[in-house]
């Protein structure tokens, strides 16, 4: 549970500093879509944090150097939940992205390739992470300590985790880039 405590303390500390040092309205921005935008961004950032921790644990699992699977089980379950939440909030913000005068119309008029690559491709890759994250969490929760007794299963789980992480990092980068080009 050490990693989880560290994660919790880090997130709580970052949240406290943000709340103390900046007005919430300024933190969210003045867009009328500020709340779904913030929810999508926060869940995505949390997902990047947990997925990165799980990728590190997966590296150790791959080489049979992970003796305690509890952290990985918890983090993989968090990954699955955060993936679902990010997709749900992503759907919500997509309504505003497609709205009249929203970024989609702007990109289609000026540079359609931005919409196709930065948004549509990103959207598909983001959806891909959900079944992978859920399947990984299911296998870890179902197998528990039997996981390491099955030939190749630790490596398979590790590769699934790293696959989801790699896609997530690409998606996160593209998502961050599009908000810089034109946000909702």
């Amino acid at each position: 549970m050490t990693l989880l405590v560290l994660l919790g303390v880090t997130v709580a500390f970052a949240g406290l500093i943000s709340l103390v040092t900046s007005p919430v309205a300024a933190l969210l921005g003045d867009s009328r879509y500020a709340i779904p935008d913030a929810l999508h961004g926060v869940t995505a950032i949390l997902y990047v944090i947990t997925a990165t921790i799980s990728a590190y644990l997966a590296y150790r699992l791959f080489f049979n150097r992970l003796e305690d699977l509890r952290d990985l089980r918890v983090i993989a379950s968090l990954n699955a939940c955060l993936s679902l939440l990010t997709v749900i909030f992503g759907n919500w913000i997509y309504i505003y992205y497609r709205d009249k005068g929203g970024p989609r119309g702007y990109f289609l008029e000026t540079r359609p390739v931005i919409h196709e690559i930065f948004f549509e491709f990103k959207e598909f890759l983001a959806l891909f992470t959900l079944p992978i994250a859920v399947a990984t969490a299911y296998i870890l929760l179902r197998e528990r300590n039997d996981l390491v007794r099955r030939p190749w299963l630790p490596q398979i789980v590790a590769v699934l985790i790293v696959c989801a992480w790699g896609r997530l990092m690409l998606v996160f980068g593209l998502g961050a880039a599009i908000t810089k080009l034109r946000s909702v």
Partner: protein
């Protein structure tokens, strides 16, 4: 640190069918999403049908557009195939490594299919 109790070490492992069902169904859902995307690019009529499917149950689907239907197809293919495969394979012992190799290959094909320059080739 969790350790495996000696008694547990000697017990026989349950069949690995449900593990295979979990990762294979995930790749089926992903492949269906990619194929539906390609099909919507090829046929405007199918795109409308997909949109109608999304509008049937996703809140705000009118604003989300055809993506709502594509998500629905992915969810349906993934979850239904998971249930089906789980019950079909639950007593079976299967070769994990080759099946996972196939699953990875399907994932690669799905990523290729949703890459926008590929749609333009088939438009």
């Amino acid at each position: 640190m969790e350790t495996v109790p000696p008694a547990q070490e000697q017990t026989q492992l349950p069949s690995n069918g449900p593990i295979v069902a979990a990762f294979v169904s995930a790749t089926i859902g992903i492949l269906v999403l990619a194929l539906v995307q390609v099909a919507t690019v090829m046929s405007a009529r199918f795109k409308d049908t997909v949109f109608e499917v999304g509008k049937a149950w996703i809140p705000g689907a009118e604003g989300i557009g055809p993506s709502s239907g594509k998500e629905t197809f992915m969810l349906a293919a993934w979850l239904l195939s998971w249930v089906g495969l789980h019950y079909t394979l639950r007593q079976r012992e299967l070769p994990l490594r080759p099946l996972f190799g196939v699953a990875l290959a399907i994932l690669a094909v799905a990523v290729f299919l949703v890459w926008p320059p590929v749609w333009h080739l088939i438009e």
